[in-house]
């Protein structure tokens, strides 16, 4: 049976802070929650739409390209317009894809983490690590409100 919550952490985990979202996904996976499915991905692609159409809550986690001091939480709605590149659809466009192709989209949030170093590397900066810790707390809150 499909789990009701889907968390997608995405980014390049060999580009230092760019992999922060994936570290959040890996940590949440380690919690072993029965109601949460996690995915750690290089990028968002249109084939996520079917899975999104089957859950009640989706949480996207990404590193912010713009400098941030703390995690930003955005409530998402389907985006039905605007230019889109197909290799890396944004979360709102994926919700639109789920709604249009499969008739349903979940309640969704987008967590954007602070990041400052995108050079080749497998470790994250202190700033990004603080963001990961903060994001994990916010993920707990979001899961609690849905469970």
């Amino acid at each position: 049976m499909t789990k009701p919550i889907l968390l997608i952490g995405y980014g390049n985990d060999l580009r230092s802070d760019d992999g922060a979202g994936r570290k959040v996904a890996d940590s949440v996976a380690a919690w072993g929650l029965s109601q949460v499915e996690t995915r750690s991905l290089h990028q968002l692609t249109p084939d996520l739409a079917p899975a999104l159409s089957e859950v009640d809550l989706a949480i996207f986690v990404d590193a912010g390209a713009q400098p941030l001091k703390q995690v930003q939480v955005h409530a998402l709605a389907p985006e039905d317009s605007g230019a889109t590149t197909t290799h890396s659809a944004n979360p709102g466009r994926l919700l639109f894809l789920a709604q249009t192709l499969y008739g349903r989209h979940p309640k969704a949030y987008w967590l954007v983490l602070p990041a400052e170093n995108f050079e080749l590397g497998e470790t994250v900066s202190a700033l990004a690590q603080r963001g990961i810790d903060e994001a994990l707390n916010k993920v707990r809150e979001l899961i609690a409100t849905t469970s």
């Binding site: 390049n12 605007g82 230019a83 889109t84 197909t86 080749l120």
Partner: protein, 482 residues
């Protein structure tokens, strides 16, 4: 001379720029495809243990990680001096077929179908998978399902869809389970039906693009890829064959280990993408620029179909015959990459089924254990986009001292330059740039399905930037596309 710059190209993996040089009379002189993002991946690997290389190099890209995984493991096999267990080889083949299915499906259904179905001159805002969805939602759903099928094969074997660290020097970490076998096998008919539908659709569309077929990289060149000892289509093992546009086999059964004797690598000052060439055709003592163009060759689906004698499975062989009838023999037009890609998906579904019905496929002996027995090794396999080489030198402890990666997209670099020149000559008559022309130039590049993440390790995408420059470098015209 004037220059038009398209920077970067959209809907390909990574960052690129196209410069179109105009003569003083406004007609196109030539064009160049530049990759402006530096990879640095080969340096990044130095000092890492050999056993980590499949996992590291797979992270070059999120679209074709399996290709790096397999090729890296094969280079590792060479350094360990092992012959991997037969079941491990079959499982690696199965994973590569899953990779070909998912990557080719992404290329056709998500990247190129919008151009083909919605039209090259349609509004770029809607000319993407979302626009396609509005026009043909059933086809979009089928494309998504087909890509999932390929990804699920990878996931069943590797434990996850992206960057599975399952293939290792000496074999693979885990055998295939019976449950996974049944699940994959049950989905083959749907995948087969979808690709058959897509092939029929493409063949109908082909007649609507006579100008594109004629001008999208339609030229004589060599083609290179792996074949079996009897010349059959190959994707994982075998040896290399070069064939020409007249169907003549130029060189055959070349050992991948000896690649440096027949492949040279030229460097352009304007691009981080290397330009490999066929060495026997190039006067390397020449001081003239562009000498490497005499050794131009293409790799990938078009090349693989052009050089092989047969696909080796009934449905794909039938399609290969029709492909050659439509192309008039060897397909010279790069527009036929799309067609070849679809036939390879069909062949892959047949081969997946055959492998899953192989009595050896569930055996549990899947890894040969050994230490460092050689200090140098070359691995080669057919990635979705073409032949991929990994060449490693290690020390006595197996730590990487030197890495050379020859990526499919790089090997098509000279051909992509020639393709862009040909399209620009067909569609550009002045510095004025129409949206349809821009997209045709990009579509010409997209036909190769270049993966610039692999070839340079670029990350993400950017809007389109177009510049028209005079011969002295002055910007005459400039526009951006978000």
């Amino acid at each position: 001379m004037k220059q038009i710059v398209i920077d970067p190209v959209t809907r390909i993996e990574g960052h690129a720029k196209i410069s179109i040089f105009l003569k003083d009379d406004g007609k196109v002189d030539h064009a160049r495809f530049h990759v402006t993002e530096f990879r640095g991946f080969e340096k990044f690997c130095e000092g890492r243990p050999l056993w980590e290389m499949p996992g590291i190099t797979a992270r070059t890209c999120g679209i074709c990680p399996v290709s790096h995984l397999l090729t890296s493991a094969k280079a590792g096999d060479a350094i360990l001096s092992v012959k991997i267990p037969p079941t491990a080889a079959k499982l690696r083949r199965l994973m590569n077929l899953g990779q070909i299915i998912q990557s080719h499906t992404l290329s056709f259904f998500h990247l190129s179908a919008p151009d083909l179905l919605l039209g090259m001159d349609s509004d770029p805002v809607g000319r993407n998978v979302f626009g396609l969805m509005a026009t043909d939602s059933e086809l979009t759903r089928k494309g998504i399902r087909l890509r999932q099928f390929g990804q699920e094969i990878i996931e069943h074997l590797g434990g996850k869809k992206i960057h599975p660290s399952w293939t290792v020097p000496g074999g693979v970490r885990e055998p295939l389970s019976e449950d996974s076998l049944k699940e994959i096998l049950a989905k083959v008919p749907e995948a087969r039906a979808t690709i058959t539908t897509a092939l029929e659709l493409f063949k109908k569309l082909l007649d609507d693009f006579p100008t594109e077929v004629a001008s999208f990289g339609n030229f004589a060149s060599l083609f290179m890829g792996l074949v079996t000892p009897d010349g059959m289509w190959e994707h994982y093992d075998g040896k290399l064959r070069f064939g020409d546009s007249d169907g003549k086999i130029v060189a055959d059964q070349l050992k991948p280990d000896d690649y440096q004797s027949y492949i040279g690598e030229a460097v352009q000052s304007s691009s981080y993408l290397k330009s490999p060439y066929y060495r026997p055709y190039v006067d390397e003592s020449s001081s003239e620029g562009k000498a490497e163009e005499a050794g131009i060759y293409r790799v990938g689906p078009l090349a693989r179909l052009n050089i092989c004698e047969r696909m080796g499975t009934p449905l794909a062989d039938e399609e290969l015959r029709e492909f050659r009838d439509r192309a008039g023999g060897i397909a010279r037009s790069s527009f036929f990459y799309h067609y070849a890609r679809l036939i390879e998906i069909l062949a892959s579904t047949e081969r997946v089924e055959n492998l899953l019905n192989d009595p050896d496929i569930l055996h549990t002996r899947v890894r040969a254990e050994a230490g460092i027995n050689q200090l140098e090794g070359v691995g080669v396999s057919e990635a979705p986009r073409g032949t991929l080489f990994h060449h490693y030198n290690v020390d006595e402890n197996g730590l990487i001292e030197k890495v050379n990666l020859i990526i499919a997209t790089g090997q098509n670099n000279l051909a992509m330059n020639r393709t862009v020149t040909q399209i620009a000559q067909e569609y550009i008559q002045s510095p004025e740039i129409s949206e349809g022309m821009l997209n045709r130039v990009e579509a010409g590049i997209r036909a190769f399905d270049p993966c610039l993440s692999c070839s340079t390790h670029a990350v993400g995408q950017m809007p389109l930037h177009v510049q028209v420059l005079s011969s002295s470098g002055d910007i005459l015209n400039e526009t951006w596309r978000d």
